[in-house]
């Protein structure tokens, strides 16, 4: 009984830490990014779906406009937007997984590794996966408009991961990066 209580308390503490960590993740647009690193990510086909498009899909303004129409039309609208939001979320996840895989491959070639940075990155990745599942569930149960805030946070973390990878690319030896580029194969189909 005592063991169960301790386990439950430990689990609740872990959830609290994770929640506080998630609250600290910015949900607004990212700051200026190194152009060369962004270009490298693009040449490796690691292009994130548009954040603006994600915001458009879950736009409350559009829902309010359709609210003046019939119930059937409103339902049609929500069904359509759910389908597109699932596609967008899948795209974001695919891009993040690719970027993290590349990061892991690149960091193995690096002589200097900062444990704090690596732990934060790993925590970001876990947080992203968790938030992504919550966002998808919320979109499915309710609709994209209801999941607006959490979707914004999902993209915020995805952005942080992309930024970390860009930072690594800048720090990498150019000859190492040149060796990695042709051998690194990003999947052609997004799944």
């Amino acid at each position: 009984m005592t063991t169960v209580l301790f386990l439950a308390a430990g689990f609740c503490l872990l959830l609290l830490v994770l929640y506080l960590f998630l609250l600290s993740v910015p949900s607004t647009e990212h700051s200026a990014r190194p152009a060369q690193a962004e270009e490298t990510l693009r040449t490796l086909s690691f292009e994130f779906p548009s954040r603006l498009l994600g915001e458009r899909i879950c736009s409350r303004q559009d829902l309010d406009f359709v609210a003046t129409e019939s119930h059937d039309l409103q339902q049609k609208f929500l069904r359509e937007r759910k389908t597109v939001m699932f596609l967008w979320l899948q795209d974001v996840r695919h891009s993040v997984v690719q970027v993290v895989d590349f990061y892991r491959a690149a960091v193995r070639t690096s002589a200097s590794v900062n444990p704090v940075v690596e732990i934060r990155l790993a925590a970001n990745y876990v947080a992203f996966l968790l938030l992504w599942e919550i966002a998808r569930g919320l979109v499915w149960i309710q609709n994209p408009v209801a999941a607006q805030r959490i979707i914004s946070r999902v993209f915020g973390i995805a952005d942080q991961l992309s930024l970390a990878t860009e930072g690594l690319i800048i720090a990498l030896d150019p000859s190492v990066l040149a060796r990695m580029k042709p051998t690194w194969q990003a999947p052609s189909q997004k799944g």
Binding site: R56, Q61, L73, K76, E80, V84, L87, W88, D91
Partner: protein, 157 residues
Amino acid sequence: MPDRVRRLDVAEAMEDLQERTLAGLPCELAKLVYLASTRDYNSGLYYHDGLSFQYTSEVADAALHSIHKEVFQKLLFIPLENFVGNLEIFFCTSHSHSTAVLDVWKKLEPYRVVIPQDSDAVSREFFFSNVRIALAILERRQAKSAPQNQQSALLPQ
């Protein structure tokens, strides 16, 4: 006869197209449909007689392609209300009756071939989704206004 010197400036060709051709079109959707009509379905290359006279075919293709993408992006990011407005204007300014045009758009789905070739899947599906919703809204509005039109016709003159 000496060869004409054709300009190589894509930006200039784009400006030319905007001012001479696209400015006369009533809405962004009309521009999108027009730009798609300049594209060869087999090769995916864009052709425009007016532009080809002043610029090389590569420049004309690049200019038309760029503007096509710009117009598509604009339509992706406008509010749904404005999108419905665009569709309404486009139907009203077509040569056929708007009810007939709406019917054709529902059955044939011509909006599927008016988007840029290199659009990503999410943008594509979002655009198609908006068109479907807009068509449904316009159809309902037409159905609502049809009985009112019949009643007006029955009133004594």
